[in-house]
Symmetry: C2
Subunit: 199 residues, 2 copies
């Protein structure tokens, strides 16, 4: 069993919900989870999709469903005023950290998600992202410099291109040895697929 790819956008509420249990799933099944932030805006250019919460009827439902799912999971949920937001800064920072220390990168991802959807805070600006990272002992100035580094920019770009090439069109999205699962509500299936080898 290879590692599982866990694709998400930092501006995705359902990605936030999936992030609560992704590592636990991996630990129970003895497989690694590779966190892979992407940019849904770029993906939506390919698919022609629009942000869920902007859609008539569906948008209202989605807001209700997100909050309801969070209550069921027992995790805090605050819908951010700034939504959807551009998650380029958080995504670049993730891949910069991931190159040095994947464990720290994962901790950073959880902290960003908690700030956005647990507390409803703005995490679009480099300053907000750097301040949040600083709480984890990450040098905020080095982080802000990295956001402008062409190699770091390319890493996020390539991650998005790779995801689209693999058929990823939403967040969260899991690939288990090539088998695609979309949505936090498919995580039981993801786990069962790993456990049984598929059906």
């Amino acid at each position: 069993m290879q590692a599982i790819d866990f694709y998400f956008d930092f501006s995705s509420p359902y990605g936030y919900l999936a992030a609560q249990s992704a590592d636990g799933l991996g630990e129970r099944q003895g497989v690694g989870i590779r966190w892979r932030p992407i940019l849904l805006g770029a993906v939506f250019k390919t698919t022609g999709a629009a942000p869920l919460v902007d859609l008539p009827l569906k948008g209202d439902y989605a807001r209700r469903d997100m909050a309801r799912a969070a209550r069921r999971l027992g995790v805090p949920f605050t819908f951010p005023a700034n939504f959807p937001f551009n998650s380029v800064a958080a995504g670049r920072a993730f891949y910069w950290l991931d190159e040095q220390d994947p464990v720290q990168a994962r901790g950073f991802a959880k902290a960003i998600y908690h700030a956005v959807f647990g507390e409803g805070r703005e995490m679009e600006s480099p300053d907000a992202v750097a301040d949040e990272a600083a709480k984890l002992g990450i040098d905020p100035d080095a982080l802000k410099a990295a956001l402008q580094d062409s190699e770091v920019k390319n890493r996020l770009r390539r991650a998005v291109e790779t995801a689209i090439a693999k058929g990823v069109f939403g967040s969260p999205f899991f690939l288990v040895n090539g088998e695609p699962f979309w949505g936090h509500d498919r995580m039981h299936d993801v786990e069962e697929w790993i456990r049984t080898g598929g059906w």
Copy 2:
């Protein structure tokens, strides 16, 4: 606890999957399930949505996910060549039957769904729908006449309008005392909501 409304389109594969377990859910929880066929084409005019399987990336995923979910449930699944199809005939026939005998109407709905997604057969034409109904002892000529009856037509039209007014935008869709749940993958939540009174 009032009856639960179960909205679906006869051309919806996920509606077919939900139909397999809707009545069982109601029986376990001691509540009635009101089957309510609608026309997603009319709903999509309101929401601007497109049929799932026509969307780039998402469409391919959906076909795979439907077949996978059916295997998991242990129900037959054959994707019909004629898809999406106009389910007006099946919808009108349902409401015509429902007025006389709701139990028979439900049996008819299950038979139509099985013909379409269990066996991949065409169920758009009045003849196909009437032939299927005949196997259940329903007079096919009376059914075909009913499809042109203005009162029967109005019943389906009103059902669609009511659904849209209540915020229904997809199939399957459940309303539990006003609480909306979209998707066959929310049926565990539907059941838990009924059992606990919500969270």
